[in-house]
C-alpha cells in the first residue's frame, strides 16, 4: 500500500537525565517459560549485567536503607538543637553543628527520608499520569490526539521550576504535599511523550489488529497487549521522573518554598546559606547535603543506563565499534 508519509517526528528527543530512544525492539529475547516473574528476573539481570547500573542499584539501596533506618543510624534526632552553634567537626559531632545548634550528620541522615520519599512518590505519580496519557494518546486517533499533543508540548516547553515557584507562591505555606503536587504537575509530560511514540509503533503491529479481530475492546488491547510490551520504557520513565523530582524538591526547599522546618537536604542548604555558613567556613555543612542529592540522582541515572539496554540492545554495554 501507499505508505502515508509522516513528517519526521523527532521521537528521539533526549533530555539530559532521561536518555532513552523511543524506537527499537520492544523486548529482549527471552528463553524459558513465560511467567511474569521470569520476565522480571530477566529484566533485572539485564540491568544488573550493566556495570554502571549495578553501581546505581547499590547506591540507591544504600540511601533507601539510610532513610528507613535513620532513627537507628543517626546519633541524634533531626530536630535536637541543644548543641553549640556553628561548631566545626568533632568527635561528638562528626559533621559539626548548624547555626541553630543541630547535629549536621543526623540531619543529613534524616534528610534521606525526604529525598527518597519525594523521589518515589512523585516519580510514581508522574509515571502513572505519563502511562495513562501516553498510552491512550498513542492509541486514539483524530482531533483529540492533536489536542493532547498541544497540551503535552505546552507542559514540556513551559519552564518547570519557575512554574513550580509561581504555583507554590500562590498556594502559600503548603508542605511536602504541595511540593510533590507541583513536581508531578510539571514532571509527567516527557514520559507521556516517550510512551506515546512507543505506543504508536506497537499499535501499528499486526498483533494489535489481530486482537481487534479476536473481539477485544480498546481498554483490553491497551492494557493487555500494549502495556506489557512497554515495561522497560515505563521503568525508564520512572527513574527519569524520580531524578527530576529529587532535584526539583531540593531546589524548591533551597529557595525556602514549602515548609522550611522539615529537615531535608535542600532545606539544610537553605539554612546554611541563610546563616552564612560560607563565611563561617563550615564547608562540611555545605558539602554533605549537596553531595547526597548528587549521589542519589546519580544512582537513578546510572540505573537507567541498564534500563536503556532493555529497550534498546544497541545501548547495552560493549565496545560497539
Amino acid at each position: 500500500m501507499t505508505a502515508l508519509v509522516n513528517p519526521p517526528e523527532p521521537t528521539g528527543s533526549t533530555p539530559p537525565h532521561q536518555a532513552a530512544r523511543g524506537a527499537g525492539p520492544v523486548l529482549p529475547k527471552q528463553h524459558g517459560p513465560a511467567s511474569p516473574l521470569r520476565v522480571l528476573t530477566r529484566g533485572a539481570s539485564t540491568i544488573w549485567s550493566n556495570k554502571k547500573a549495578r553501581i546505581g542499584v547499590v547506591l540507591l539501596l544504600a540511601f533507601v536503607a539510610l532513610a528507613i533506618f535513620a532513627p537507628l543510624i543517626a546519633p541524634y534526632g533531626a530536630g535536637e538543637n541543644g548543641f553549640g552553634r556553628n561548631q566545626s567537626p568533632s568527635g561528638s559531632h562528626w559533621f559539626g553543628t548548624t547555626a541553630a545548634g543541630e547535629d549536621v550528620l543526623s540531619q543529613v541522615i534524616f534528610g534521606a527520608r525526604i529525598s527518597v520519599l519525594v523521589g518515589f512518590i512523585a516519580g510514581f505519580l508522574s509515571t502513572l499520569i505519563a502511562v495513562v496519557v501516553g498510552l491512550s494518546w498513542g492509541y486514539i486517533r483524530g482531533p483529540l490526539a492533536d489536542v493532547i499533543n498541544f497540551i503535552v508540548n505546552l507542559v514540556l516547553v513551559i519552564p518547570g521550576l519557575p512554574l513550580m515557584i509561581v504555583i507554590a507562591a500562590y498556594l502559600q505555606n503548603g508542605g511536602m504535599t504541595m511540593i510533590i503536587f507541583v513536581v508531578v504537575l510539571t514532571g509527567w509530560a516527557y514520559g507521556a511523550r516517550v510512551l506515546r511514540s512507543q505506543t504508536q509503533s506497537i499499535r501499528g503491529r499486526d498483533f494489535i489488529t489481530a486482537a481487534q479481530f479476536a473481539g477485544d475492546g480498546a481498554a483490553r488491547i491497551v492494557f493487555h497487549e500494549i502495556l506489557p510490551n512497554m515495561t522497560s520504557l515505563i521503568t525508564g520513565s520512572f527513574f527519569g521522573a524520580a531524578t527530576s523530582a529529587v532535584l526539583a524538591e531540593s531546589g524548591l526547599s533551597f529557595l525556602g518554598i514549602g515548609d522550611t522546618t522539615t529537615v531535608s537536604w535542600g532545606s539544610m542548604l537553605f539554612w546554611a546559606s541563610n546563616s552564612n555558613a560560607l563565611l563561617t567556613g563550615q564547608w562540611v555543612l555545605l558539602f554533605a547535603p549537596g553531595l547526597c542529592i548528587a549521589l542519589i540522582a546519580t544512582s537513578l541515572t546510572l540505573i537507567n543506563f541498564g534500563v536503556d539496554g532493555l529497550s534498546n540492545p544497541r545501548l547495552r554495554e560493549g565496545t560497539g565499534r
Binding site: 513528517p7 519526521p8 523527532p10 521521537t11 528521539g12 528527543s13 533526549t14 533530555p15 539530559p16 537525565h17 536518555a19 532513552a20 530512544r21 527499537g24 554502571k52 498541544f150 508540548n153 505546552l154 514540556l156 516547553v157 513551559i158 519552564p159 518547570g160 521550576l161 519557575p162 512554574l163 515557584i165 509561581v166 507554590a168 500562590y170 498556594l171 516527557y190 527530576s244 532535584l247 531540593s250 531546589g251 533551597f254 529557595l255 535542600g266 542548604l269 546554611a272 546559606s273 560560607l278 563565611l279 555545605l286 558539602f287 547535603p289 549537596g290 542529592i293 548528587a294 540522582a297 546519580t298 541515572t301 546510572l302 543506563f305 536503556d308 544497541r314 545501548l315 565496545t319 565499534r321
Partner: protein, 326 residues
Amino acid sequence: MWYPLRKLGLLLLTAWAAITLNFLLPRLMPGTPADAAIAKLAQNGPVDPATRAAIEAQLGVPTGDVWSQYVQYLGNVSRLDFGVSYTFFPQSVSSLVLNALPWTLVMVGLVTIVAFVLGTLLGVLAAWKRGTWLDTLPTLGGTFTSAFPYFWTALLLVFFLGYTLKWFPTSGAYGLEATPNLSLAFIGDALGHAWLPAVTILVTSVGGWILGMRNNMINTLGDDYVTFAEANGLRTHTVAIKYAARNAILPNLTGFGLALGGVVGGSLLVEQVFNYPGVGYLLFNAVTNQDFPLMQALFLMITISILLANFLVDILYGLLDPRTRR
C-alpha cells in the same frame, strides 16, 4: 504548509496558551491573591481605585465578569503593561523586568550554547571511542555532574573559588561602585562577575548533552548508512562526523529545545546564590515579598523567551533536516 510558517503558527498558539495560563493560574488557586496583594500595597500608601481595578484584572477577584477581565488582561500584556511592583514601589513591573532580562539572556544564553556545543562534541567522541577512557570519563563524569543541584555547584564554587581562594567576585553582576555603561572597563568588570555563575551552569548542564548525544550517536552508528559508508571506504572522520554525528544531532536538537526549560530553571537558582541581578534573582525576590504582578510578568517573560528559543531551534532543525522541506 511551509515548515517555518507552521512552526511560527505553533509559536503564536503556544504563546497565547502561556499568556492565558498566566491569566488563569491565580484564578484557579484557593484564596484571593488580589486581596493579599492590595493589602500588601496598602502598606506603601493609600491605593487609588484605578490601581485596585488593575490589580483585580491581573490577579482575579472571586466575582465579576471573567471575560472582560481577560480582554483587559490581553490588552495590558500586548502593551507590556504589567502594573506596578509592590516590592520596588513605585517602579513599573515592565521596567524592572526589562532591566533584569538582558543579564540573564546574555549570560544564560551564551553559556547554554557553549554547554550544548561542548557536550555534543564530547558525546560524539564518547560514542565513537565507545568502551575506551574517552567514553567512560565523560559519560561517568557527565552523569555525576548533571546530578548536581545547580545551587549546590554554585555554593561550592562561591565557597572555594570565591571566599577561600578569592579568585573571583562572589556577588552581583558588576562592582558595587560601577554603573552600567558600555566602556571596556565596565564590560571587563561584568565579565569577571559572570565567570562563576557561567562555570556553574556549564558544569551542571554539560553532562546532559554528553549523555544524550552519546546515546543518539550509538544509535546512528548502528544504522545501515554508516555501515555502507564504511564499506565504501570513506575517511574515518567523514563517517564519524558527516554520517553518524550529523544524523545523531537531530534528536539532540529537539532534546535541546525540551531541556532548555530545565537549564533556565536551574540558572534561576544560580542567580539567587550569586545575587546576580537577572530574572531569577528578581523572581525570587518577588516570591518572598508576594509581589504577584512582578512574579506573573517574570514567569510570562521567561516562558516567552523559552518559546522563542524553541522556535529558533525548530528553524535550525528545519535547515539541518531535508526531510522537513517536503
